[in-house]
């Protein structure tokens, strides 16, 4: 008995060590190694920066989505909010660079409104978040189509597009540094601070873990939930600005991104029913997912097979997350 004690303690310590290495980081390293084997230019600084630039919008989106997931909900409206941001920006600016600032302010205003609608529907009207945000997905998409008449009516000015296209050249160490990678870094730090460094963050965890207990402990569950949806919507607008910058105007830019964001969170160790998740994890989850897409592209598989592989990999990621939860690892 007495001999067994230090043994279990040792075991526990080893267990907590593996627990501290996030699953997202591990999966990312494996996938990126495969990408680099197939296409060595990806490990060169320029290739890696280019990869980060393309993955950055998904990272930003996942960093917002995880607030809602941790609080015990889903936000399915982010994809159509991205579409609305891109179309809205083209409608407001109409190619005029002097209107970029106003457009970005208006987009964040729209983002706050959509977040509030989601949050209020969930917190006060008691609509399950998966239904509430599915509803806003449809409405927001409808608004985007009505506003633009189904066909975008303006270009995005170059200063707006800089968020997805501009690259600082001749940067020491990395050679080139895309602006979108800097945006991702800033968003990740802010989100990390918000979720792991503030009282608000602890409330989000408490609400997701056990809303009744949180309420009894005096936490305003409704306000916490609403704030989580607003944060998610703001991250969607940011991702929309980056994607519009990267690719320009299109009517289906946000399609399917809500699922990719949720998948990124799950790969990064966030728990689907709330109460668990980390910013480091979900950002690496997003990078993993993007590395997977890149790998499937590089392998040159036919589209149908790529979709099948992608779907299966996502299900296994979620399944392994659920397994880890059950076994407490």
């Amino acid at each position: 008995m007495t001999i067994a004690l230090p043994d279990t303690a040792l075991h526990r310590r080893a267990g907590s060590l593996t627990r501290h290495i996030n699953s997202g980081v591990v999966i990312f390293l494996v996938l990126f190694a495969a990408v680099a084997l197939k296409q060595p230019s990806y490990i060169e600084p320029a290739g890696f920066m280019n990869f980060l630039r393309r993955a950055a919008p998904l990272g930003v989106l996942a960093a917002g989505q995880v607030f809602v997931l941790v609080s015990g909900g889903f936000d399915l409206s982010v994809g159509s909010l991205i579409t609305l941001s891109v179309l809205g920006a083209s409608m407001i600016t109409g190619g005029d660079p002097s209107l970029t600032g106003a457009a970005i302010a208006a987009l964040y205003g729209i983002g706050v409104a959509v977040g509030l609608i989601n949050g209020i529907a969930v917190a006060f009207l008691k609509v399950p978040s998966i239904i509430a945000t599915l509803g806003t997905l449809l409405s927001v998409n409808g608004v985007a189509m009505m506003w633009s008449g189904g066909s975008p009516r303006g270009y995005l000015p170059d200063n707006f597009r800089a968020f997805g296209r501009f690259v600082f050249r001749d940067v020491p160490l990395v050679g080139q540094l895309p602006l979108s990678v800097i945006v991702l870094a800033i968003v990740a730090v802010l989100a990390w601070w918000g979720l792991h460094g503030t009282v608000f963050g602890r409330r989000v965890f408490a609400v997701g873990d056990n809303p009744r207990a949180a309420e009894l402990a005096g936490i305003r569950v409704d306000l916490t939930r609403i704030s989580a949806f607003v944060i998610s919507a703001l991250s969607a607008v940011t991702a929309g600005i980056m994607l519009g910058g990267f690719g320009g105007v299109s009517t289906d830019v946000g399609q399917g991104l809500e699922l990719q964001a949720i998948a990124a969170c799950v790969i990064g160790g966030a728990q689907l029913m709330g109460g668990r998740g980390s910013i480091t994890g979900v950002v690496f989850g997003a990078l993993s997912l993007f590395a997977l897409f890149t790998l499937l592209n590089l392998l040159g598989l036919p589209q149908a097979l790529r979709d099948t592989a992608q779907g299966l990999i996502l299900i296994s990621a979620v399944a392994s997350g659920a397994y880890r939860q059950r076994t407490g690892g």
């Binding site: 296409q39 393309r54 008449g149 066909s151 009516r153 690719g247 320009g248 009517t251 890149t294 592209n297």
Partner: protein, 377 residues
């Protein structure tokens, strides 16, 4: 003699389409040859109005449909779910306005891309008894055939864009089509490509007949000329994905000399991938969308834009009025010319005041409300 040959090949095309839809045969030698033949023809009809012209068509008698005007015309639309259909639909409404003295009402039903909705739209138009003629732009070929056949028994029907597997409509209006697109674009690349140059094909999605035909025809010509096609990828019509794919190919092969596209919506994104990678511009084939034409002119690209002209939406309205007046129209198949935009004709189509996804081959410049009605300034 030539006319007989033509009618035969038109019949062959109809059969080809009919079997093609069932057997998913997207690469037919017969259709390819027929498109080649159409491309060589001189259009007949009023000068400068390609939407009233035809390629080797025959006038048919419509006196049995004659009735006193003005008319109630009904339109069952597959959908307005992409910019091409938005521009076409705007054309059509403007055309109806232009014929106001003959058209009492122009009623449209939007099927929102659903076969079942379109079938019930057509049924209710027919049973309402309020339509003198019915125009149909079918959502899919096979599913809509019975509804169109039933409508034909009650009133004159006109079909355009995608077809149906019956010749009961008075006329079926459409341009040369996918094979013509593939032939002209691939020939352009073959003529400009340096020896041993690498070509990347960018396609939207698999399984859509007109898109499959475009690729089948281009691929045939690339193979016949031993062109090095390094890949053909599906972009899903998404700008960001297109850019990502092109960047990956540039990384993988060092240099891509030409981009072939089965639709132009993401052409600018493909060009930007070369800019962002610091590479020289490729030879590229896009489409007649303003964003691509503007970029082409600004950056002096070696480019080419085939069209699937949106002006075809004007023809059925004009034809419907003619049919109800008992005047002859081209039928049962009415092939419209399918012009291309080249370096020589670029300037007449570039218009920075039109929206980026406006289709320059709209034939709408003489129509009421241009350019505001099409979103221009």
């Amino acid at each position: 003699m030539k006319r007989i040959v033509l009618r035969c090949s038109a019949a062959a095309l109809a059969v080809g389409l009919a079997t093609g839809a069932g057997a998913q045969e997207f690469n037919s030698q017969k259709d390819f040859d027929y498109a080649q033949e159409l491309l060589k023809m001189t259009p007949q009809g009023p000068e400068g109005k390609p939407w009233e012209q035809n390629l080797g068509g025959k006038q048919i008698d419509t006196s049995k449909y004659k009735k006193p005007g003005p008319y109630n015309i009904c339109f069952s639309n597959a959908g307005v779910d992409n910019p091409w259909r938005v521009v076409g639909w705007t054309d059509m409404q403007a055309q109806a306005d232009m014929l106001k003295s003959d058209i009492k009402s122009f009623t449209a039903a939007d099927a929102e891309g659903k076969d079942d909705k379109q079938i019930s739209d057509i049924n209710s138009f027919v049973s309402s008894g309020k339509c003198d003629a019915l125009i149909v732009s079918p959502n899919t070929t096979a599913a809509l055939t019975p509804a169109v056949e039933a409508a034909c028994k009650k009133l004159p029907v006109l079909v355009f864009d995608r077809g149906v597997q019956t010749d009961c409509p008075v006329t079926f209006v459409n341009p040369i089509g996918g094979y013509g697109w593939g032939i002209t674009t691939a020939n352009f690349i073959v003529s400009k490509l340096p020896k041993g140059g690498k070509v990347l094909g960018l396609r939207i999605l698999p399984g859509v007949d007109v898109l499959e035909n475009r690729w089948a025809a281009a691929d045939r010509i690339f193979k016949a000329n031993n062109i090095n096609v390094v890949g053909a990828e599906f972009t899903g019509g998404d700008n960001a994905k297109t850019k990502t794919i092109v960047e990956d190919y540039i990384n993988r092969f060092g240099k891509i000399d030409a981009i072939w596209m089965d639709a132009g919506a993401t052409a600018v994104a493909a060009v930007e991938a070369f800019e962002d990678a610091g590479q020289p511009y490729p030879i590229i084939t896009g489409e007649d969308q303003e964003d691509f034409l503007t970029k082409w002119k600004k950056e002096k690209l070696t480019a080419f834009a085939p069209t699937y002209p949106t002006y075809q939406w004007r023809a059925p309205v004009i034809a419907a009025v003619k049919i109800l007046k008992g005047e002859p129209v081209v039928g049962p198949t009415w092939k419209l010319p399918q012009p291309v935009v080249t370096q020589e004709t670029l300037d007449q189509y570039v218009d920075p005041n039109m929206p980026p996804l406006h289709y320059a081959m709209c034939g709408c410049k003489d129509m009421p409300g241009y350019p505001q009605r099409w979103g221009g300034k």
